[in-house]
Symmetry: C2
Subunit: 239 residues, 2 copies
């Protein structure tokens, strides 16, 4: 997907020991892992919260299982931040506000909205981190791809949402609007983070060594938006 | 502590294959594991909920870690229920109402109340299940003791609550009242469960083979209450 970028930067062919000699790259990775770690912790909280809306004990247990999987991803990131001599809570702190604000602005009002939110949110975050992973050193890339490993949430959400729309097609209209609101709010918070975090932004747009490449960022956002549209269609929702 | 009981029943010397030949014992164990499993799921939810009240990111992560540990206990119980041909959600269902009602009646209004509740609740539940474990067949006992393994919550709560009382002694009075309310509500819900579930109650009061032994139940409740009083004193609270 973003293979072209990895060739651009040179970082993608290096391991952490070599790549992290560049202080700007080191700072960018701490930022990235901090953002990802806080995202996992927030996902844990969100799924645990949604578990309370579950219509059955089996659904509740399924959501608790996914929450717990997110927590284990968080633990791996937390551990890695310690290994590279970063302070995990300090690394997460800069991203807490934007993510909390996103979750505050998009509190689901029922079980289905919660499922759509978790699905849309996880998928967009996952697409984004996969794009970023291609620009990372080999060690950091392996970790990022490992914590993006599917927690099974996607299939669960798709199955439940499709069944609900089949049972009552009007539900589809309401959830399509909801998914659009989620995408809008996610983009607006992402812009805020990118504007605030120089090291991270510089890495995202073409790699530390190559400076800004706004055209490539534009293409990345197009790819993520396209994938979102396809997923919504698969769910039975017009994006 | 309850070694005398294990000698009474004979069950405590048997493995599951032998002991479960008695249908009443089989039913009692399904009840017990169902209650324990729902308790772990509810504990997961409660800790995840309390994580939102955490005053710092490090505290939030600590609570999420404990919640995740409770979920893994739940998974072991869920797995065991399947192994003994029980339906996990059906086994949990009879206990959901009492536990949900307990949590509804005792929603903490701040971080410290949440910590005291988790500590008091976990400790009482743990004391109770340890008493019961002594009456169980060897296989079920090993599982019950394994899932009672400390999730580290106790020490964490004690440390934080003691520090808060040292910083402001008036906090102690408020939390002591809160702990008394928790104990009262726990006992009232426990009575309701015992009244509803014949197989479980029969096992609790002296073992299936030996019929009711109310004096022993009385002693068990005294031991649990005494241990609670000691813990509250250690926390700096008058019970």
């Amino acid at each position: 997907m973003a293979d072209a970028d990895s060739e651009n930067t040179g970082i993608a062919g290096q391991d952490w020991a070599t790549a992290s000699a560049q202080p700007q790259y080191h700072a960018a990775v701490v930022d990235l892992l901090g953002a990802l770690a806080y995202g996992e912790l927030a996902a844990f909280e969100r799924l645990a919260e949604d578990a309370k809306l579950a219509p059955s004990l089996a659904d509740k247990a399924a959501l608790a299982r996914m929450a717990s999987a997110e927590f284990h991803h968080f633990e791996q990131l937390d551990q890695r931040l310690l290994e590279i001599d970063a302070h995990p809570t300090e690394a997460m702190e800069p991203f807490a506000k934007a993510l909390d604000e996103f979750h505050r602005q998009t509190a689901p009002s029922d079980w289905l909205e919660g499922l759509v939110k978790a699905y849309v949110g996880d998928s967009i975050a996952s697409d984004f981190y996969r794009e970023v992973a291609a620009r990372l050193d080999t060690d950091t890339r392996a970790l990022v791809l490992a914590v993006l490993d599917d927690t099974g949430h996607g299939n669960f959400a798709v199955e439940k949402v499709r069944a609900a729309i089949e049972a009552d097609p009007r539900v589809g209209g309401r959830l399509a609007l909801w998914a659009r609101r989620l995408m809008g709010e996610a983009l607006s918070q992402a812009q805020r983070v990118v504007a605030d975090r120089d090291a991270l932004s510089t890495m995202l747009v073409g790699g530390v060594a190559d400076g800004f490449d706004l055209a490539e960022v534009g293409r990345m956002f197009s790819r993520i938006t396209e994938a979102h549209t396809k997923r919504m269609a698969a769910l039975g929702l017009a994006a």
